[in-house]
């Protein structure tokens, strides 16, 4: 089903050297994942145990402040906690009691570790176990770390889902089941679930589920498909429980989505003709929608600065389906095994970089002068002011971009800044 790789790039970047850098990283920490996770699991609450900085980050990260009561909060560590005047565990119990009294609808509470809580070695795993017993029957308490000293941006979701996996019920059934892993917008998730039903694949579960009591079971007959490229620990945790990963491209664009679905179809023995027939309408729609942006993007050079680990699959989509030329594809962390097929499709002359030294990387961007630079919110306006056209990376995390029916929107996200540059006369 796949379009053959570009001529002369049979192995693409699969074995290309990777530029590893160490320095200032212009990225969010893993706490930021709470912004979308707390919306996905509707009876879960995320309590960050951290500092005022953590709380300030959460309200600033989305670019706007969302002011109704969210299902997240920060237990801010204060001087008296550090000075030992207050016992941190007693304080945490008090805060959790207060929270659960006000929000009796919460069934799943995540205690989320932060840089300060890690440095003072506050044992949140033990606290979660203690609080789970205390609130047994009403609220389950889990923990993970979203700290900046350990996690970059989307690694927070990875840590959260890995914590969930440890708690999933065992699936004793002998029949294979499919699990889609990674937070997707509800509308996209529903599209995929419909497609798998049409293909005759089932049962299909998603992780995370929308409600705490609907989390899927896992076992040796679970076949899982990663919907996001940043779920290394979650995949390992699933494999530890016997589940088997289906290797595939990630579902971006007409080709990526086709190949992602196809990998599952093959694993579940779906007839090839039936597969083609079933996905044809969506695939055609995706191609038509993508075509609108092709003129604006074909031949244009694009650089990704490290942000969400979506960089490699998105660069592949832009290269193979829109004819863009990736210059540098930076990623905070390169998971070679999960990205093997993606890397093979990137043009061989693409510079892959992992980690960041932001000042040096910006020197490279200025020298290469790409037509489009995909970067974080802290860098976008300064680069625009220097004459470079940019795309905010965070929009790629906060918008529905997976699957056939979002492929056109995804292409449009990259095309719009270029179109805007062309229409403005100021």
């Amino acid at each position: 089903m796949m379009t053959p790789a570009l001529p002369g790039t049979a192995t693409g970047c699969q074995s290309a050297p990777v530029l590893r850098e160490r320095g200032q990283r212009e990225v969010f920490c893993g706490l930021t994942g709470i912004i979308w996770l707390h919306r996905k699991v509707q009876d879960a609450f995320f309590l960050v145990v951290g500092s005022r900085t953590c709380a300030h980050l959460l309200q600033s990260a989305a670019g706007v402040m969302v002011f109704a009561e969210p299902r997240f909060a920060t237990a801010i560590i204060e001087e008296r906690d550090l000075a030992g005047l207050a016992d941190c565990n007693d304080e945490l119990d008090r805060v959790v009691d207060r929270l659960l009294t006000r929000r009796p609808d919460i069934r799943l509470l995540f205690l989320v570790g932060s840089c300060p809580s890690e440095v003072i070695k506050l044992d949140l795993a033990r606290a979660a176990a203690r609080l789970s017993v205390k609130h047994a029957g009403a609220t389950k308490v889990l923990n993970y770390s979203g700290s900046g000293i350990e996690t970059t941006f989307t690694e927070g979701e990875d840590a959260c889902l890995a914590a969930l996996v440890a708690d999933l019920p065992a699936d004793p059934s002998a029949a294979p089941a499919l699990m889609i892993v990674g937070t997707l917008p509800d509308v996209v998730e529903d599209q995929f679930v419909r497609l798998f039903a049409d293909l005759g694949i089932g049962p299909v579960h998603v992780l995370p589920a929308r409600r705490a009591d609907a989390m899927p079971a896992v076992g040796p007959n679970t076949r899982f498909l990663l919907a996001q490229p940043f779920l290394g620990d979650t995949a390992r945790a699933l494999e530890d429980r016997g589940a088997v990963r289906i290797d595939a491209l990630f579902p971006f664009g007409a080709e990526g989505t086709t190949q992602w679905l196809h990998a599952a179809a093959q694993a579940f023995g779906v007839d090839e003709m039936h597969f083609r027939r079933t996905i044809a309408p969506g695939r055609e729609r995706a191609k038509r929608a993508i075509a609108h942006s092709r003129a604006a993007l074909a031949g244009k050079r694009v650089t990704f600065l490290p942000d969400s680990q979506l960089e490699v699959p998105l660069a592949r989509f832009l290269a193979t389906e829109l004819g863009m030329q990736p210059v540098e594809v930076g990623t905070p962390y390169l998971h070679r095994r999960h990205l093997a097929q993606e890397l093979a499709l990137l043009p061989a002359d693409t510079l892959i970089s992992e980690g960041q030294d932001v000042d040096r990387q910006l020197d490279r961007v200025r020298a290469a002068k790409p037509d489009l630079t995909v970067c974080g919110l802290g860098l976008a306006n300064p680069l625009e002011a220097e004459g470079l056209t940019t795309k905010w990376a965070i929009e790629l995390v906060f918008s529905p971009i997976h699957g056939f029916d979002q492929a056109g929107d995804l292409a449009e996200l990259f095309a719009r800044p270029l179109r805007r540059r062309d229409v403005l006369r100021v």
Binding site: Q24, F28, S51, R71, L82, C88, L99, G378, A385
Partner: protein, 516 residues
Amino acid sequence: MQLTVWTYEGPPHVGAMRIATAMEGVHYVLHAPQGDTYADLLFTMIERRAKRPPVTYTTFQARDLGTDTAQLFQTAVRDAYARFAPRAMLVGASCTAELIQDDPAGLIEAMDLPCPVVALELPSYQRKENWGAAETFYQLARKLAADAAPREAGAQPRANILGPTALGFRHRDDVVEITRLLATLGIAVNVIAPLGASPDDLARLGDADFNICLYPEIADTTCRWLERRFGHKTVRTVPIGYGATRDFIAEVAGLAGVDPAAVLATSNLPWWSRSVDSTYLTGKRVFIFGDATHAIAAARVARDELGFEVVGLGCYNREFARDVREAAARYGVEPLITDDYLEVEAAIQALQPELVLGTQMERHIAKRLRIPCAVISAPVHVQDFPARHSPQMGFEGANVLFDTWVHPLVMGLEEHLLTMFRDDFEFSDAAGASHLGHGAVPHAPVALAEPVADPIAEPVTVVPSGWSSEAERELLKIPFFVRGKARRNTERYATEQGITAITLETLYDAKAHYAR
């Protein structure tokens, strides 16, 4: 531990960033883990700054802890100096680095950099953003201010304008306004700082005759030190509003020995407020919350210059709580000193004001409660950096206050029409007031507004027990923007009179009782 949903202020190192970013030629090396770089977007996105904040983050990771974080810090300082060639440097720790105790001050001393360096001690677990900004500005001034040059007798009077920063609420425009005002008075501006100032400018702070403490939250500490160091007098009137601007001019003119007559009475506010169209503003109940300086100034304008009734007054910065308490006493209201926005929401809900003057937090609270609102103070939002000139200070600032506070309100004649023709379908509750913008219309898609059914807080609404159905129906005929007040007044009247069942009679008795 303190349970926090939204915060009015960031951590103190963000205050330091506001000083560094406001200035030219200063670079700040912050010992911090990855993720703390989020603060850059406050400046590049909210304020639309075209340059990255001059901040280098050391970006230590878990695996560095206990090994070479101090080394990492020194390398970052050396690289930052080589790349940016600043004329002064700030170094310090964010909340996490404070815990690992690498002692940036000691490390920097050992490095012997060829520029002045200020090592900041900003206790993250005790202090907040405004304090961090004030402390940073003060430490920079102390480090950089040189001896004052001798003044010739009879020279033109000179003033420093102190306090404007990056990410400040309308600081950019206030500075323009106040500079113009001083020029009209024949007073030269010696240094404006921190906004736009270089380390060399701070060296000249002593050359002024007096200081204008434009934003006490930022500049008070520095002004007090300049008083001691150079014997400067400080102008402490904050020129927000017509009356305050006149007082400010009088104070400045007195210190400079110039005639204030040239600049007095040049605002539209007095006439706009006295003209008959503004009669309907009389006694509008207004709730005010923000940083202490803006809140106190707003209360004076609200009562004395627009004829509102101040029903609530508060601030989120405890450092200035005493000033707010004194002001609240003048207006006969309970001061609300808190940085817990749930408390502020509860107060607004209980008081049912007709106008809220607050921060972006209160704007969202008001939007949900469908109360008109104008923003008067930081914390800021992208909308608080308008493309147009829009000061809060000086006479033009007074004009801006009149417009921005009055426009959200339902206008005089519209209010009458709404009352008279309650049943007109276009005046229905669902339609909302046209002035409140789309946010007030419940069926309009508000992308980021979350369902109200999601609150942490218990609903604070008064339970309408004891209302007869007839009285309830009559209450519904009262326009929504005064209905809350009518309900509250009726219930208070019923309680005072010992009435348990509220009837149609009670409703109108209460109306007569509270008639003004």
